[in-house]
Each structure stands twice: as C-alpha cells, then as structure tokens.
C-alpha cells in the first residue's frame, strides 16, 4: 500500500520515441489519445488503485511573499520554462513493481500515427505514514 505520483511533462523529460507534438497529430489521433487516458483512469478505478488525475495548463506564474503588508510579487506568466508539468496521476498500489508496470502502460498512450508515444513519465513515491511499530 503505497501512493505514487506519475508526472507527465510538457518539457524537461527525456525525448520520447514518438516525439511529434500534438498539434501535428490528426484530430482522430488526439481523440484516441484522450480516450486512452480516460480508459486508463477508469480501469485503475475498477482495480481499486486510482486516487487522482489532473491536467495542468502550460502557463504558470511565479509568486512570492514580499514582506509585511505588501501584496505578493508575481513574475510571469511564463510559457518558456525548462521543465513544465503537463499533468499528474496519483495511484495507490501494493508495490513499487506495480507502480512501474502501470507507468509503463500509461506511457504507451497513442500519439502520431496511432503509435505509442513511449513518453518518459516521472514516478515519485509519496512520503509514507509513520509506522507505529518502529522501535
């Protein structure tokens, strides 16, 4: 029982095998990709392993505290950062091996030409709960 974050990058991940950007796919290929993602999430819900999944808009704004009584400083929005998160999925699985297996399946989402993208996904374990018996 462990939770993992599957991070999908717009940029910053190593180059996938099938790297053609989405705007150069056919509309049908885009639909097939979206359907694949939805089916994947539905399947994980049925296996009792789905926690959450969200897509993020590509543009982000940097925000920071600027001192007592002052509004936060913002910078951006930027579209040109080096590493950009496209979205995530959180899964709750019995083992690391299972998490790797599922990430591998998600990475097979179809892209240009209906072929798998072979996209690199980043797999990050959640910090766990502190077990009661440790001494």
């Amino acid at each position: 029982m462990a939770k993992y974050l599957l991070l999908k990058h717009y940029r910053g991940a190593p180059e996938p095998v099938n790297a053609a950007p989405m705007d150069q796919w056919t509309p049908e290929e885009i639909s097939a990709h979206m359907q694949f993602m939805q089916d994947f999430a539905d399947r994980l819900e049925k296996t009792g392993e789905f926690v959450d999944g969200q897509a993020l808009a590509p543009e982000g704004t940097w925000v920071r505290y600027d001192g007592e009584g002052r509004p936060p400083v913002t910078d951006g929005p930027f579209a040109e950062t080096k590493d950009l998160i496209a979205g995530w999925m959180v899964i709750d699985v019995d083992s690391y091996e299972r998490a790797v297996e599922l990430a591998g399946e998600l990475s097979a989402a179809p892209g240009a030409g209906g072929k798998p993208i072979h996209e690199w996904l980043e797999l990050r374990p959640f910090m766990g709960v502190h077990p009661t018996v440790t001494e």
Partner: protein, 380 residues
C-alpha cells in the same frame, strides 16, 4: 450503544446470513445496510436483542436484493432459485470470516480493506478516508476482493499467520482520520483472540497493546516524533501495559514462540524500564537473536545492532551494523546514532542529514533533520 459496539456484532451477523445460505458478497452488502440503519436508529430506539435485530434486518435486505436480482435474471431468462432461509446456528464462525478476508489470493491492500469492512463493520467511506483514496476506488477494491474470494469454501480453516499479518498492517499503517485504525486493529485482534487459542494471536495482541500504551508520549504537541529514550514515561498507559504483559506472559508460558511474541517481549522490556537508562538491553539483544532465528528479517538485524550498541557500547553496535547491507532502510539513521554515541559528532551529523534525505516518511525525515541540525549548531 456506540458505533464500535454496534460494529462488534458485524462478524456474527454476517456469518449468520452465510450459514442461512446467502452468498458472502451479497450477505456482506446486506449487513452493511443493516449496520447503517442501526447506527442511525439505535441511539434513540435501542433494540432488546441487538444481534437478532441486525440479523433480521440484514436478512430482509438480502432477500430484497436477491429478489431484485432474480427478477433481473428472469428477464434475462436465467432463473435462479432464491436461497432458502434456514436456522441461524449459534456457532462462532468469526474465525472463518477472518480467514476469508485475509485469504492468500488477496493482495495486502485488498485484504486490509475487506477485513475492515466485513469483520470490522466500517463503511467504505470510512475505510477510504483512512487510506486517503476516493470512495469509488475503495468500493471497487472491496468488491474486487469479494469477487476474488467468492469461490472460497467458508468452512475450511485457513492460516492464522495470514490473518495476523493483515491485522498488523491495519495497526501499523494508516492515516489519521475519524477512524482510529490502531484501536480498531486492537479490537479486531482481541475479537480474534476470543475465538482462536493461538499463542501468536496473543503475541500480536500484546504487541499492539504495549505499543498503543506509549502512543500519547510518542508525539510532541507540535506533532514531531519523540524517540523512546526521551518519552515522558509518566504518560504511558499503565493499564494497557499491564494487560499486554499479562497476555504475553500467558502466551510465552505455552512454549510455542513466534515472531509476534518475541516482538512483544522487546516492547515489554522497554515498558518495564522506569527510565531509559534502566532498560535491560542485554535481554533485548537476546530477544532480537530469537527474532533473527525466527524471521531472518534484515530489519530485525538492524534493530539488533541498535540494541547491541546499547548493551555493549557503540563500537560493538557499529561492528554489528558493518555486517549488514548498507542499503537497508534506516541503516544510515542507525549508523548516525551509533557514531554520535561514540563521540564522532561530525560523522553523526553528516549521516543524520543523509538519513533524512532517504527517510520514507515525513515524521521521520523531520526527526532526522532536527538531529543533524542539533549537531551542526552545537558550539565548537
């Protein structure tokens, strides 16, 4: 009658339905419905015979569902006979239920979820919250688990060890939520101990009680971990310790030592020391030797190295540690501690920081970071 008391009737009601011929999955759903009704209605209008009430309501729910199902099947031209109601014998089938819910064909997370629902009587929503997953996901996990065990005969004894592993997981892992999983695990283990005479069941119950007794002292008001040696022993629950020790002694007297009894023995030796300095580390090392023989677990050998460090000095602890694989979880944290005891504070500070980086959970990471910070900020 409070919720936990209502829920304690769950296994008896569920097995009564199964004995009458209901299939496990449908019976389990019907019992959940009846429990929800009981939790809602009983505070104002408690029944004279709570278990009888639950069996009656659950059986009615089961028949309603079976009828709806039969009607549906009839429409599909697949008529199936409704199970015939039979007497509900007064046999305690609780044990069979534990075996079923911890069946080896289930993954650990499914076994935990099914046990909490079918034996513990918790709702899917409560279980989902305790493990921080959506309710729909937990519902699927449970119904999948029920499908997995649907072909399992209900009258065959299983292996107690698998049940104990599931209960240990419930006790040891879970987020804080409106359900106190540690207390729930103790309740379920106590209930199991009442229906099976097995020294390891007693051993696990003792272990849980001894650890639970220290719970109030284990975290500071700000939420950080307080290590055993620094805990305010006045805050330990002496009644829980006394019960744990009594159960453990009775189990050990039967001379069928197992992993949980040995772990409980270590916990009992800690509980027995009026101050950390008076801990009987020599005996603790002996129990870890027993545990290493019983389990061959690397975690046990790591804990043993800590105990050796206390019993024979940090150099001896480091020597014991050197024999172990340094990729083991918490290996670096143990090394940091033993180096500090040995007076090598620079090495200890570096290792604490390294251990914090590798820590698998937040409370431990914070604790180790504080240890590194404490050494790094010392006057030189």
């Amino acid at each position: 009658m409070d919720e936990a008391l209502i829920r304690s009737l769950t296994p008896g009601v569920l097995t009564a339905l199964v004995r009458r011929g209901a299939d496990f999955a449908a019976a389990e759903d019907a019992v959940q419905d009846a429990l929800v009704e009981a939790v809602r209605g009983w505070p104002d209008d408690p029944p004279r015979d709570p278990k009888g009430w639950l069996v009656t309501v659950a059986w009615r729910r089961f028949l309603d569902a079976a009828r709806a199902d039969t009607a549906r099947r009839r429409r599909e031209d697949r008529v199936e006979e409704e199970p015939a109601p039979g007497p509900a014998p007064d046999v305690d089938d609780t044990l069979q239920l534990y075996f079923l819910c911890a069946h080896p064909s289930l993954t650990p997370s499914s076994a935990v979820a099914l046990t909490l629902r079918a034996v513990g009587g918790l709702t899917t929503r409560q279980i989902a919250r305790a493990y921080l997953v959506p309710e729909a996901t937990m519902a699927q996990r449970i119904s999948r688990a029920k499908r997995t065990v649907s072909g399992v005969r209900f009258d065959r004894p299983g292996d107690v060890a698998t049940v104990l592993r599931v209960l240990y997981l419930v006790f040891n892992e879970g987020y804080s939520s409106d359900v106190d999983l540690a207390a729930e695990a103790i309740r379920l283990t106590r209930q199991l101990a009442a229906s099976v005479d097995h020294p390891e069941v007693a051993g696990l119950l003792a272990l849980m009680l001894l650890h639970h007794a220290r719970r109030a002292a284990r975290t500071a008001p700000d939420g950080r971990l307080v290590p055993l040696a620094e805990q305010d022993r006045g805050r330990w629950d002496t009644a829980s310790i006394a019960e744990g020790v009594r159960i453990l002694q009775a189990a050990l007297a039967r001379d069928r030592l197992g992993e949980f009894q040995a772990q409980a023995a270590v916990a009992a030796l800690h509980a027995d020391a009026p101050t950390a300095g008076e801990t009987d580390w020599v005996q603790i090392v002996e129990w870890y030797d027993e545990l290493a023989r019983l389990t061959d677990s690397p975690v046990v050998r790591l804990n043993r190295a800590v105990a050796v460090g206390e019993a024979d000095g940090p150099r001896a602890g480091l020597a014991a540690l050197a024999a172990l694989d340094d990729t083991l979880p918490r290996h670096t944290a143990v090394a940091a501690y033993l180096h500090e005891r040995d007076g090598d504070l620079d090495t200890a500070a570096r290792l604490y920081a390294e251990a914090a980086h590798k820590a698998p959970d937040l409370a431990e990471r914070d604790h180790l970071t504080r240890q590194a910070a404490r050494l790094n900020s010392r006057p030189r």
